[in-house]
């Protein structure tokens, strides 16, 4: 399952410019803990919609700390980042504005996407 997260960041970098983050500037670090307490770090620098992503530690304006299981659900749209923050499953430090900005790149729930697909196919 480790690949899901790696693939997510890889695809994000490959996609290139992301208009949803067109006004965003800052560095975000994702601290992702596995079941044994090992923490995996990803560092993402956003500059007006363009990304630089590195697998490792570094200084950040905002850090998002959670466990790998939850993060995998965030990047597949099964969980919502704001609700997760409210229940303390996702812990933020630094510039919280970046949480609201960054969560835009997470997809919507799979079921809704599927329904839209069906709707579009039937029209």
């Amino acid at each position: 399952m480790a690949d899901t997260i790696e693939r997510f960041f890889q695809e994000l970098e490959e996609k290139g410019h992301q208009p949803l983050l067109g006004k965003v500037r800052g560095t975000v670090r994702f601290d992702l803990a596995d079941g044994d307490g090992e923490v995996d770090h990803w560092l993402m620098t956003v500059d007006h919609g363009d990304f630089t992503i590195t697998h490792g530690e570094g200084e950040a304006d905002y850090t998002m700390r959670t466990d790998r299981t939850l993060f995998e659900k965030l990047i597949t749209g099964e969980e919502n980042a704001i609700a997760a923050t409210l229940r303390g499953a996702l812990v933020c430090a630094g510039n919280v504005e970046l949480l609201f900005a960054i969560q835009r790149i997470f997809p919507g729930p799979p079921r809704a996407r599927q329904m839209v697909g069906e709707e579009m196919a039937s029209t």
Partner: protein
Amino acid sequence: MTTTDQVRILNGNTFIVSDDRGDIEASSTDPAGLFSFDTRFLSRWVLTVNDQRLTALSTDDLQYFEARFFLVPGTGTVYIDSKQSVIRHRTVGTGFSDELSILNHGEDPVDLTVRIEAASDFADLFEVKDALKKKGAYATQVKDNKLIVSYHRDTFARATIISASEPCEINQDGLTFHIHLEPHGSWQTTLDVALSVPGVRRDEAPSILSWEALRPVSDMALDLQRWLDAAPRLECEWDPLKTAYRRSLVDLAALRFSPITAGGHSLPAAGLPWFMTMFGRDSIFTSLQVLPFTQELAATTLRELGLRQGTRIDDFRDEDPGRILHEMRYGEMTAFEERPHSPYYGSADATPLYVVLLDEYERWTGDL
């Protein structure tokens, strides 16, 4: 008790609804309490002197964030002849404080047992309305001269931390003071109630379970004065109009709510005290109507709603790309997705109204 006897003071989404003595005794029919971030942090807060409840002689609503209760021990039906009186001066900031003064008007010294009972059910605002059962676990702990009442459900944690400036005995149900008053003597203490909402912190070093409360209490009076000073001045010969204008500015100040992402700036909430949160329609309308008097509310509304603009399709939240939110909530039920307000987007008019406000804001300010 009827709602007309209720005393309500607030600071943003932190507010206290008590009876006219300043006591809180929440029940399913009485939505009293100390609330913050859509969670009740105190459902019981009862003051007794020598095991007697008190009676209110009068209550002063000093400011929207401050009230003073003049009390005497005893609950007689017609007339109470008491040699002691109690003044409870309450200020809400991040949490609240009760400055308690007890005066002995008698010719003899007295020994009194002053007790404050405290408890919390940590109900979500939605649960208060619908009287729902809690799914988590409660804990009470006495530590470092503080009473800590807390609630946990998985990673969700909220706590109320109660302390006093004078020595007291603390047990699981409250704080007890044994005091001696000389003839015409007086005694004071400040009861401090702090709130812990872990999960989001402005500084570095994240920790999921931090007992550190959201401090310090902001200077509410100074903040209000700055707000009044920043508004246009109204000069006229008819005093009632000046009074009404000033009152409107103060009421508008009370309606301000500062989201955590706004860097201390405020937007108008939908209504106090139960709707002290970001609402698309209400925040936009109020900002629009007050544009001639203050532009800050519109600027913050546009910025904060824009930051939360919908980007995906989510049927649960009625989110669609481009949509402006309807309502944001912070309580347990929202956190566990038993309610869709994280935020909820189901509103037909918030999005077009956003465009209207954006245009009007530019016309009034020239700010792009």
